[in-house]
Symmetry: D2
Subunit: 342 residues, 4 copies
């Protein structure tokens, strides 16, 4: 039976990506789209690339009748989100793409986002949406919190290694290279083509990036002790894709074998042969994640390179994967689109 879908915050990139993916999803149909400041417009006025679709008009959230909605994707900014989700029907299935329900501890939320959480009880209810590691909880969940796109990439590279105890927990550095769509449709000088094209720079360096909250929460939980990683993000002149280069201390072959075993049966997570490294160009537009491991010339050190599309596997594709589980659909439904190359 076709599932009726609402998308709140449809005028941003992750909202548009949800629409793109659902357009060819066999079991989902969009019945409502909200966009506060653009209410009254049609989706193709905001995103002409969706012109061929027959979509409901953009409305304000309170104009939506949620009784006819099976699942609601929430693609709103953080802070706003917690207020909106709090006001939604308590039996409505929700996949949230914001940062508001990723951190379980209210103190952690306040530390990283600079204000107390306004929906602490929902924060406790929410399941962390890293599908491959929370599959059963997600299947049973009402509210799933999509992960940060950078946080997803790093966790795929590191969780099995921390679980298996095969790397030094006190010396992990993640050097991230991110495409600009991760910054959303925000109007800033350094996101202009004239300024970004042909340039790269680091941002939120030195342990200030908010996705560190997720790394800390998850890695410490797995390890059973505090784990702090170094995380240095860079903005690149490309649109889609994240490449993370992860420096760990451990036996490279063991690192590779541990990851390869962990993901052997995963439909979206692909581990390359030892020594081969992936490129963002090979996952753009898709829900696939590629990972490679190489040994450094210094014995006992391994370099892991992991890539995914921040808008798809890092955000909207992940959200649909989780929604598929919550709705009892095939986990991969609508998500097997091949990457777009070149």
């Amino acid at each position: 039976m076709t599932q009726r879908i609402a998308i709140l915050g449809a005028s941003g990139y992750t909202g548009a990506e949800l629409v793109r993916l659902i357009a060819t999803h066999p079991d989902m149909k969009i019945v409502a789209l909200s966009a506060d400041r653009k209410a009254g417009m049609t989706m193709d006025q905001v995103f002409p690339f969706l012109r061929h679709l027959d979509l409901p008009p953009l409305v304000k959230i309170d104009e939506i009748d949620f009784s006819g909605v099976d699942l609601c994707f929430c693609a709103l900014p953080h802070a706003t989100t917690q207020l909106v989700v709090k006001a939604l029907p308590r039996d409505l299935k929700i996949v949230d793409l914001s940062a508001d329900f990723r951190l379980r501890d209210p103190a952690d939320y306040e530390k990283w986002y600079g204000a107390p959480h306004a929906a602490v009880e929902l924060q406790a209810e929410a399941v962390y949406g890293l599908t491959e590691f929370y599959r059963e909880e997600i299947r049973a969940a009402r509210l799933v919190a999509g992960t940060g796109c950078n946080a997803a990439t790093g966790q795929y590279a590191l969780r099995p290694l921390i679980s298996a105890g095969v790397i030094d927990l006190d010396d992990i550095a993640i050097d991230l290279k991110a495409g600009v769509s991760g910054a959303g449709r925000s109007l800033k000088e350094n996101l202009l083509h004239a300024e970004l094209s042909g340039g790269t720079h680091s941002y939120s360096a030195g342990g200030k990036h908010r996705h560190l909250g997720e790394f800390d929460q998850e890695f410490s939980k797995i390890a059973g002790r505090p784990v702090l990683v170094q995380f240095t993000p860079h903005l690149l002149p490309m649109n889609r894709g994240i490449l993370e280069t992860v420096y760990v201390k451990g036996d490279p072959k063991v690192v590779h074998a541990t990851l390869a075993a962990a993901y052997a049966d995963e439909p979206f997570l692909k581990v390359l042969p030892f020594g081969a490294l992936p490129s963002t160009r090979d996952i753009a537009g898709s829900n696939f994640f590629h990972l490679g491991v190489v040994g450094d010339r210094i014995p006992g050190r391994a370099v892991i390179v992991a890539v995914l599309d921040n808008l798809t596997k890092g955000s909207s594709g992940q959200a649909i994967q989780n929604a598929n589980l919550m709705l009892g659909l095939e986990e991969t439904a609508g998500l097997m689109l091949a990457p777009v190359f070149p």
Copy 2:
């Protein structure tokens, strides 16, 4: 019943694009892939973005058993193609993506491609693959010749206008802006990122581009008299997409109304409201074509802007659309993928 598909020349961009599209096609399965110089390799060695697919290995053409093939896509270079197709079984359905069977008149072929045609009888048999204008012939055809990507874009903009007699046939100029994937995976200095990025230039200007052969053949046929257009191509620092700006003399509103009426029921051809113009970013990765018309300040002159993705609607998507017809499938099967933006 799933149709068994072979792709000859699978190691080029159009071959890879066929695989990308067929990956989620509900009624097609790839049973053979050829690539002469890369025979023996697997497809993911040549195109890592296809890593998630279970594909047959790359072989030489003569290793393929065509008795198990329902339809064969031929994505080989021109000149080579005519020799290969000539040697294929005479009852095999073929969609050719090269230039070899686009021109019906052997003299035209020789004029534009500089050598006599080696399979003149097949040239006569081939149906020109501009789907929306040759639908019934394609449905009945055994051999369909895919159009040039530039030629398709210009024909969509001009055919209904020439048919309807609403523009001056002696004063048509097409200024084309093309993404670099149209040049294929060829290794040339001006296709290097270092040289193309941040630069644009004209090529084959002054009436030398081979797709003019198609324009001449088709426009003259429709008009019942010789029609020669001006055609000036430019290479742009982008990967996918063609934008053609077409300068015509005629009433802009009539031009718009004629095109809008012609394409009102077409699933892939979208005419924007009068005065709105399209962008390549809105069709990338998809089989959609967008067209807009604006009136110039000089009365009696109209400017048409048309866009499509050269690898999809301009080549491999068009090929699948034609194959769908030849195989009795739904014309849009596997082709409703939304564009990828941003």
Copy 3:
């Protein structure tokens, strides 16, 4: 003797480009920089690429003592400019980069810019800054109005042809491809890297672009009768450079010979051999202009392709060239920097 230079509006791209060029100019020294909203900041806070220079701080215009200034560049938005220039000392030499003094007729200004001109007497005084065609007037001028970057490109391609009477004046079409720096540092969605990269689109099509006011004024003056051209601009995913493809009716060889003769002694205007066409990548960052002519296959039609860097020859480089003349310096002083390639 070193000339003391002020730049008003130093926080935009053309202001920064003036600083870049003056940094190695042998006879100019920057003594004042204004930027209203960024007053109090240093230039390297606004433009870190100028970090190595010892520059005056950004101030408000009324903080500048113009008695110590030999020449003032005004790089402010149009409309604002006329009010600012009106208030400057009447004996101050000024090169204006805005649109405010390009059109001589107040009615033309109002037609294209939508409001009456507030400094009509200065409008009359201003000399149009297309250096190669107004050299003597500029040498004697107090106030020079820099041309539009698109307008400069098209005029270089067409003025000698109109003067010589070798083309049909009623059938001229200019198809422009422009890099994004021409849009300035303005924050708009379609200037974001995520939206522009990989995409191209037309804008102000159909005779709405304001630089048409300059084309009309200048071409009609040369021809001694009204001349209206078609002008269709496109925005490209590149930062610097304009390429204009100009369609004219006339003998291609005569067109070429006329242009080659006109520019034979010009230090910055280079005409390529007949049949060769230029690329934007060959003039980026420089004050050079390249032009090529090719004959169309239709007899009596020529295609001209012309390129320049919109920020340099199209704006700030042109401004310095004019300033050199006004200050009695060598015309090419500080402007012989080679293009940056790749």
Copy 4:
């Protein structure tokens, strides 16, 4: 007195960059240009962006009369270079841009470049061309070996720290992001615009990149003990520029102070205020190097980000800086060109 300059290997990017810079050098004049496979062509046929210059034609090396040459830049591939330099007059001043004379120990050369050195005596004579650290030796040298562009970037970030003993020598990781012009004008699929644009990937990871030979040689010499760094290069979709993110263990404030003190008087090396980080867009086309330091949230760890233009400060600009010293000219002569932005 104007110095007479020859450039061997003028048809590559570093050769062209030498010509670009010398074009406005006050004390140098190009008297000979070689390019073996393109001998007989003019420079503007190979590089149209140099069209405005009056340059000698491209010839074969043995056609050059070196008696009229004051200094020769050698921009040839490694391995070829050592044979060519060996055959040049023994009193000719030479700045070599290849890898052939960077490593002092013949065994090191063989280890990293896979073949014995054919001019061991010249290898011993050559001075390592990292100007700021070998200034006096370079002034007196006849043969200077330009550094690797990646090696220069990393050494600027690390040498003062190793000298001062303020970081842990056993835990240094350099994560490099490099623009594509560093790969030269070579024709490879992954350097095509269609493949690189929108994609990034790691290469020579795990300690295989040849510039490690330089790091090892120099850092071990300074430390007086073996120092091995981790070095992981990535290719980015940009043309000019290198950004290196260097992970060190040491007090961040001390790290910053040490670097700031070391470069306080350097004309080309700029250290940003503590906590500020540089971008490649701010040095493109120039001989400037920008460096920033930030402290990680983990105490005792610092992140250094350093940028330069691989073709200028990393190669041809450095070469001219060295040539200036060797010829008794002002060290900065011809090199104060501001970066090109945007």
